[in-house]
């Protein structure tokens, strides 16, 4: 979707807080929320891409102003409401009864040590043939998608070069809708001069990991 989250190359944003303290968390509630997200039981219809899409759907002003982990909280809360495990009123009040919606069991403290080393893979066996090879020129699709996609606006319609091939990976556009599809995934390098009107003559490039259906022959 052409949401506020698609920030690459947007002009008018201010300075970066380069003097932020080095500590991983700046408020206890941040760490708490992260821990909570890792430990909670979940309905079976959640996925990383559904989570991302739900965060993208936060009101644009909230997206730009509410603290980061606060947005995670609101996103998980929205997913809980949508999946029927809790109501807005229950979350606001901090009370409720177990719902009828099946969820995975809550993590036990003793399981954290193995969970912290758990590795989730997104590559898949797939018979989908790779349409491009390293060295090929490609052009990113001009259209985005109405729903979740990982093709940022700033490369749409731009010409780039395949610099790596990673086999088939789960396609976010479909995964956000609960559909398991995998597609060849490539790293594509775009010259800055191809992306930005002020970058003529510059030598820097931006590299993105893009799925096959995001790409056309140039």
């Amino acid at each position: 979707m052409d949401g506020i989250h698609d920030l690459g190359g947007r002009q008018g944003f201010g300075l970066i807080d380069v003097d932020e303290p080095e500590q991983p968390f700046h408020h206890p509630w941040e760490a708490r929320l992260l821990g909570l997200v890792r430990a909670m039981g979940r309905p079976g219809d959640w996925s990383i891409d559904w989570f991302r899409h739900c965060r993208e759907l936060i009101d644009p002003v909230d997206y730009l102003t509410r603290p980061y982990y606060d947005q995670w909280l609101q996103t998980y809360a929205a997913m809980m409401v949508k999946s029927g495990v809790a109501t807005v009123a229950e979350i606001a009040a901090g009370t409720g009864k177990p719902s009828a919606v099946p969820t995975s069991p809550p993590m036990k403290p003793a399981d954290v040590d193995s969970a912290k080393r758990a590795v989730v893979r997104f590559d898949r066996d797939s018979r989908a043939a790779a349409a491009f090879k390293v060295g090929d020129a490609v052009r990113a699709k001009g259209h985005g998608a109405s729903g979740h996609t990982r093709l940022p606006a700033y490369v749409r319609g731009r010409r780039g070069d395949i610099v790596a091939y990673h086999g088939a990976h789960v396609l976010p556009d479909a995964n956000a809708l609960g559909e398991a599809t995998a597609e060849p995934l490539y790293t594509v390098a775009f010259a800055a001069a191809e992306l930005w009107p002020e970058a003529a003559g510059r030598r820097d490039s931006v590299r993105l990991d893009l799925w096959q259906s995001y790409l056309d022959r140039p």
Binding site: L7, V18, V85, A92, T95
Partner: protein, 216 residues
């Protein structure tokens, strides 16, 4: 499609915005209580995760990975070939490490990492990302004006260095391997690891000083 309905989520966000307390700490308390009340959460597991991400999983891990690559050519080769697999040697595998990719700075190449669409970050080796990494200014500007962003971080690139910005749009995660500073010949892995900063592994720092910390 109805299950994963964007319009319904937008409406729920509006409701939550209206009914949840505005203070983030209060919101987290409320969410924790409701999850516990519903039998969906063990608060002691939360305590453990807080310890893990406050103390255990952080940029010191990445620093060890980088230092080892500097001193062990065979590890460096494995790291550049398949970083996700290579870090299993050290027991650093975990969240989002499956498709880790190490990109090496050289005298003529500087790498810098971003996630313009959300906040993807190599958590297993760097811990949780700094707030600026997830902020609109960094995400918006670094793909368009990496030299300007580096300048803001106090980095002036030598003439002729090519900048490669890695936008983490898929499940690959990028770790920048900075250059080993001159004058560190014969140093131990531990001593070298102490030189390697988080920002250098994101790419917003370039030349690692031998003295204590950044000069910003």
């Amino acid at each position: 499609m109805t299950k994963h309905d964007p319009a319904a989520i937008q409406a729920i966000h509006r409701e939550l915005h209206e009914h949840l307390p505005s203070d983030s700490a209060l919101r987290v308390k409320a969410l924790e209580s409701v999850l516990v009340a519903k039998g969906m959460l063990d608060p002691e597991a939360v305590d453990r995760w807080v310890e893990v991400y406050s103390e255990e999983i952080g940029p010191k891990r990445g620093a060890r990975v980088v230092a080892r690559a500097w001193v062990e050519p065979a590890f460096r080769a494995r790291l550049l070939e398949d970083a996700g697999k290579a870090i299993e040697d050290i027991g650093f595998e975990g969240w989002a490490s499956a498709h880790l990719k190490a990109v090496e700075n050289t005298g003529v190449i500087h790498n810098i990492v971003v996630c313009t669409l959300c906040s993807c970050y190599p958590i297993a080796v760097l811990g949780v990302p700094p707030t600026w990494y997830k902020s609109a200014p960094y995400r918006a500007r670094v793909v368009r004006d990496p030299v300007g962003v580096l300048d803001e971080f106090g980095v002036r690139l030598p003439e002729g260095v090519e900048v490669r910005v890695w936008d983490s749009t898929a499940e690959l995660r990028y770790l920048v391997v900075p250059q080993r500073p001159a004058g560190t010949e014969g140093w131990s892995l531990e001593r070298l690891a102490r030189l390697v900063t988080r920002d250098a592994m994101i790419g917003t720092e370039r030349d690692l000083p031998l003295g204590p910390g950044k000069a910003r």
